[in-house]
Amino acid sequence: MNCLSVSTSMEGRRSNLPIRSEKREREREREREQYRSSMLQCIFLLSDSGEVMLEKQLTGHRVDRSICAWFWDQADSFKSLPVIASPTHYLFQIVRDGITFLACTQVEMPPLMAIEFLCRVADVLSDYLGGLNEDLVKDNFIIVYELLDEMIDNGFPLTTEPNILREMIAPPNLVSKMLSVVTGNASNVSDTLPSGAGSCVPWRPTDPKYSSNEVYVDLVEEMDAIVNRDGELVKCEIYGEVQMSSQLTGFPDLTLSFANPSVLEDMRFHPCVRFRPWESHQVLSFVPPDGQFKLMSYRVKKLKNTPLYVKPQITSDSGTCRVSVLVGIRSDPGKTIESITLSFQLPHCVSSADLSSNHGTVTILSNKTCTWTIGRIPSDKTPCLSGTLALETGLERLHVYPTFKVGFKIMGIALSGLRIEKLDLKTIPPRLYKGFRAQTRAGEFDVRL
């Protein structure tokens, strides 16, 4: 009686997870022999209304689709967990563009492996279908099946390299669609094994030939920043990717070096990058895949400034709030800042909103998401959003405040300051074009009110 019946929420949440009893644990351990060798057992694709669009059984231990109904019926907070222990299976899920990819297993396996794989499936599908939504998946279900069959075998990933998949299963394009309408017969399954599938550089077909050799390097950066309620820049960092597009004949060996690699806080590489040269003198040496790919991603921390400032003000009194938000350029990056947007979620207690701006358009959706599309900052005035929010009856003042998400895009500059020094080819093919580009856009740019 001397103790409290309420535990702190931290511990409470963890123990809420089902099935923790040790007895059950031992029972399961005894069962495990039975399912030992299968990793993922089944993949389901669910539409945003919870309909099972597709099921692909991967092993002999079939998973009944009723598990999807169980999953869909769970409370939102539990359902959104990426790893769920259901009474019969462990579920992994990712949600991409409204489509839920759900994978089931009954045995211990690295959960990140399942999640990464599902992400890879989603990437490949959206690449093949030109986006992802319910109709696209249903219309192209055969391709989805063929891709899944190629990508995973017996619950273990088989071929996930997009370039090779492309050679095995042709993506739907206009020609093949027309052909199938006219002749009713157009196979998209290749008869031959892609040459890259077995080589030591599985990401590259053995001997592609191009009349003109081109290689482009793009620095694509995203700025993550947090401005707290005092207007102070709490965190500002860049997440960047080196994206390449290469169309090179033969077996090219490339080296890419940066002028200032020391700014990089951390990085991750495409499998084609050799570790040793990077370890010794920070040079990227690699045999590129054919076509588009992401060579590396990196992070630059502790930036001092954001290109934009956002100054929100809010005062609330006797049931109404006055809002005004100013947006302007803080430090000029030297290039135009384009497609500036500001979006925020109105708090639940706001019953109606009347917002207007002196530049750009303001839209308020029914789910209380407010978006202010500014575009470019005009030279003559400072864009300003102002208006009033009416609170629900009975509330005097606002006690919760929204967070503004800022979007922008700057072409031609990498805000991290990372510079590419040079790109060398070991053997220079005839007619070689090299190109470099850069762009920065907003990633997780939060301004709290």
Binding site: M1, L4, V6, T8, S9, M10, R14, L17, R26, R28, E29, R36, S37, M53, E55, T59, S80, L81, P82, V83, Y90, E108, M109, P110, P111, L112, M113, I115, L118, K138, D139, N140, F141, I142, E146, D149, N154, F156, P172, K177, M178, L179, G184, S187, V189, L193, A197, G198, D224, V234, Y239, R268, F269, P271, K294, P347, G394, H399, D446, R448
Partner: protein, 1000 residues
Amino acid sequence: MFNQFGSTAETLSKASAAVLRIGTDAHLYDDPEDVNIAPLLDSKFESEKCEALKRLLALIAQGFDVSNFFPQVVKNVASQSSEVKKLVYLYLLHYAEKRPNEALLSINYFQKDLGDPNPLVRAWALRTMAGIRLHVIAPLALAAVGKCARDPAVYVRKCAANALPKLHDLRLEEHAPAIEELVGILLNDHSPGVVGAAAAAFTSICPNNFSLIGKNYKKLCQILPDVEEWGQILLIGTLLRYVVARHGLVRESLMLSLHGLESNGFYEKDGLVGDKKDGDKSDSFDANLVSLVSKCYIEGPDEYLSRSNGVDTVAASFDSKETTSVGDNEDVKILLQCTSPLLWSNNSAVVLAAAGVQWIVAPLEDVKKIVKPLLFLLRSSTASKYVVLCNILVFAKAVPSLFAPHFEDFFICSSDAYQVKAHKLEMLSLIATTSSISSILREFEDYIKDPDRRFAADTVAAIGLCAKRLPEIPTACLNGLLALVRQESFAGDLELVDGEAGVLVQAVMSIQTIIERDPLSHEKVIIQLFRSLDSVKVAAARATIIWMVGVYCSLGHIIPRMLTTITKYLAWSFKSEASETKLQILNTAAKVLISAEVEDFQMLKKIVLYVLELGECDLNYDVRDRTRFLKKMLSYKLACHEPTEDSVASQENIAEHVVEHVFGRKLKPFSPLNLHNRFYLPGSLSQVVLHAAPGYEPLPKPCSFVVEEHDQLSDSGRQREAMSGLNGSQESSETVDEDGSSEYDSESYNGSDFSSDGDERNDANDAADPLIRFSDIAVSTDQEEPRSKRALDLCASYNNVPTLIPMEELSCLEPGQSAKRLIQVRFHHHLLPMRLSLHYNGKNVPVKLRPDLGYLVKPFSITIEEFLSTESRLPGMFEYTRRCTFTDHIKDTRMENGKDKFLTICESITLKVLSNSNLHLVSVDLPVASTLEDATGLRLRFSSKILSSEIPLLITITVQGKCNEDLNLTVKINCEETVFGLNLLNRIANFMVETSSSAS
């Protein structure tokens, strides 16, 4: 005519409807059944077949059962079109297990495709064949895998590696050594792609067969960076397990840091841990927790359970022999070298796996290099973020200093999912240091104003946790929290959303946890809380405050003076309270009364009596129960007039003691961490779901794998030895394999091992006397006991269909003695063996009995006409033929004696057949040939019925060849039960080839 018009019009309209989704399969998904699928499957045009198959797949996708099309679909496996083939394979794999009999029909085509020059065709055939998972074809599939494992194409070898787990799944004990051998071959492949797949096979088939790894360890490490990302994940884990099993844990690593410190103090010598010398050891890492973590990584569930009974046996006891060091162990060094670049991998699972190795094996000062890569993972998808955070949390709990400088990475952005936010909060409260706490608290202030109130409540809880960890900062927190309580209760006046209540409750709880550390200095805070009681409306928060009234009622000087007022207030509000608050009021009333001072006693007694009266007629029975209980306990107090009055009766004295014990006890000193948490290996599913998932295996016992053994013993023998040596739990008895070769050879089962006494076992083998001889559904258990005084007891495990009529137990067998018992078994199905276990001297050996197929049929006498008509009704898929050679007749002496050669041949064939199976000879056709030397055309017909199902089974043996030479026999079986037929056919073909010594 008109029909045709109709159909074109229909297709036209369909085409126009689908104009927006031109060329896609949209119409097939929307209306898969708008045409009759069956005729399309039989069409001679590939495009129509293709369409039909697409329709079937659409139905499968939508969850309909279309297995009834199986026979028609299977036929199309022979198609030359790759798309049709692919679609058929997709269909086949989906339904093969449901329709095993028909699935068998496709085997021939796979066999053919396996010889195709196109590697893609070979790979597909192999994948599908292994994927069908039928016991019957397992030997064929295994042979195919064995062939493909040596295929020139890398892709095919990769598929072969992937096929091994499929075969392993069928639990064919007799093939286990062959499968493991193949795993070994593929692990040794020079192509990284194959090695990756082989590593996956290894993990699922024989994760503890470290000799396979030991052979190639260095090579595997070198090839690791080139292996495909998915293979890397599993290979990293395998290599780690090998190193631990072979060499034990590393002395310099975090896992053993504590013991290193205690035992030989080499830390001081080498100056390994700089920050330790600076003073705050507790900040650098939590030694108790680290040792708990390392213990958890190694111990299995049983040990965990046994440990949790005993309270604090946390101090691990690793034998110093079971450890190694990075400096002088080449294997450990290589492992660290080859996994550290993988921290840059593009695949988060690989990064986490590599980080896990560094965490467990790397020397303490190198562990920090995992920090940045792990933090970088937080920029990936929401789902991976969550999993990574789950793992980082454990690292941070053990060594908060690792992540402390990077607290900014755990600041929350608005797009994070709720779970991610919650984990980040926990992380922040774990790694907060005196230098970072001010920025963290400022962040927390922002979070409290977040529209997501659940998250705000968690933030408040996190503030409490921070204050618990860092005793210097509570004052700042407390003021903020108190302000929050006031503000929330103020806002709460009007309308209370669920979330708001949560924030308030958490605020009160956090204040309570801070006060708990040092109640005296926070007296004013307590008083403020009591004052706010009137404005706080949330039941849980009120209950907590009221509870605090009871606990701190005798604290300081001011509170005791307030007590009467507070109690009065509580009594006054009792009626309108929620029941959880009522319970706390009752408790508090009792506590207050006990600690009451003389001047207030009468007043308090009255109030308490009033409250008890109210409680006794409450609607809630818990409240009523509690009231009665308290009334009884406090009766002595309520009866007397002065608090210090001496009670006379001894009984009352006891009551007083009880009451003192229950209510007057001081609060327990607060413990920083619950040490009974269980941890799982980093990157595992179990660590995320927080219970051991089936198949979770802790690290192997340090140094449990001794390499010398491997040199002396054969592979399987060694494995068995290792297994039984390890623990002899049920797990090992499952994997003990019989080293038999042929499926029907009963002798093979005497391998069930007496590993301790190999000599006697050899004797048994030499005498060619099987341990358990199987003859005509009887088992003689002779000579099975090499040692005396061993109780033997055969009992069946009833998990399979064969049933056993119980028999008596053999209580004792003397050396050399033998005893016979008759076991009667009813085999309901020919493929399910009888599983027996042999118990002796407390040991347990699994034995399997498999019936000879020839005895699962009974003679069925019919006339030749009936035979022929039955045969004609069983064509096509019910008919199987196999060729074999027959030589018995050559040795037959009567051949030379000039007897009728045909007759002799007939006799010897019939003898052979009938002595091996229960059949009825229906007829013999003699050839009408020009020469008497040519036996071509000789035909024998046998008939029988399957015992279990009474299904007729017809056998026709046709002879080809010269009388004096080897004859070619064509054995044909017609039977509806195709699987049985196929098996019996193989059996017959097998025994026909064997030359029998007893041909008379």
